[in-house]
Symmetry: C2
Subunit: 177 residues, 2 copies
């Protein structure tokens, strides 16, 4: 009876592994979505978390977050050189996390003053393609939460919100040396 | 009379250029200092501004800053893998800028809520070398402002301040995914 048992175990393991692989594929595909963001079709750029830091910010109020702006190589060069408009190929990533008090840090400082990056909220991308996105100042927009794109109603608000930043090519962030 | 004048001008220019080169060398040498930080002898690591982002924070109170923690390749791998203690060769950089209201951003949001990275305050480094810095938990410390090291009195406070962070190998920062 040993051999069949072993064979079944192997089959079960193989099936489990297969299911995991499929689940993992589904997660990847369903994550950024094959179609990407509504309107602009932007998917999550590979390796964006490894991009260089442009600057950071703190949005109080309803956002209540700490945010970091990262850029791909084209973006970083343009930010440093002050190139305007940003060249095609620029991708800017805005990460954000809840503005979260740190009890451990406050203990060290002896006062309530320390806030750190808590749970991630969402990540946004601006992609420069002056032809493809000519109707929106050359920029495509995207926002993802846990790998899922925001809906069209939200994505529609990106361009009009960024329009007041015309003098800096719709980009609110400046390089922090 | 033209030739001698020209020759003198060239000599003056050459002397000026020489003086600039020396001044520039002095600035570089005097900046990070050949000796680096007191006690630990740490100089400013080349290219640290291009390192990957570990996390960000906001210190209110007297600091009133926004800070970003970057790491070299050894640091980033250790943070991501949760390796403790941090391996020798780890270098962690803490950059900080004044927590500065952004009138431009507030206008877009229609309320006073936006704070960005203003003037740089100082940059700190922690360097892991378990033998060289055995007396201070394996860490060497440094702080620079405009390229100049903080004095010994300040650098002496680094280790005792970081000691409460023993459980995370004296490092207060955690990786923000």
């Amino acid at each position: 009876m040993k051999r069949p048992m072993k064979r079944i175990s192997i089959l079960v393991l193989a099936a489990a592994a297969g299911a995991c692989a499929i689940a993992s594929m589904a997660f990847t595909a369903g994550g950024a979505g094959d179609q990407g963001s509504p309107i602009y079709g932007i998917t999550i750029p590979a390796g964006y978390r490894q991009w260089e830091l442009i600057s950071i910010a703190h949005e109080a109020g309803d956002f209540n977050d700490l945010r970091a702006v990262l850029g791909n190589a084209v973006a970083v060069k343009a930010f440093r050189d002050g190139t305007l408009p940003f060249p095609d190929g620029t991708i800017i990533a805005r990460l954000a996390w809840k503005h979260t008090p740190s009890a451990a840090n406050n203990k060290v400082f002896g006062r309530e003053q320390s806030f750190v990056a808590g749970d991630a909220t969402n990540v946004q991308f601006m992609v420069k393609d002056s032809k493809k996105y000519a109707a929106t100042g050359g920029w495509g927009f995207a926002q993802f939460k846990d790998g899922k794109s925001a809906d069209e109603a939200l994505i529609k608000t990106c361009f009009p919100c960024h329009e007041p930043g015309k003098e800096h090519d719709l980009v609110f962030t400046y390089y922090a040396p």
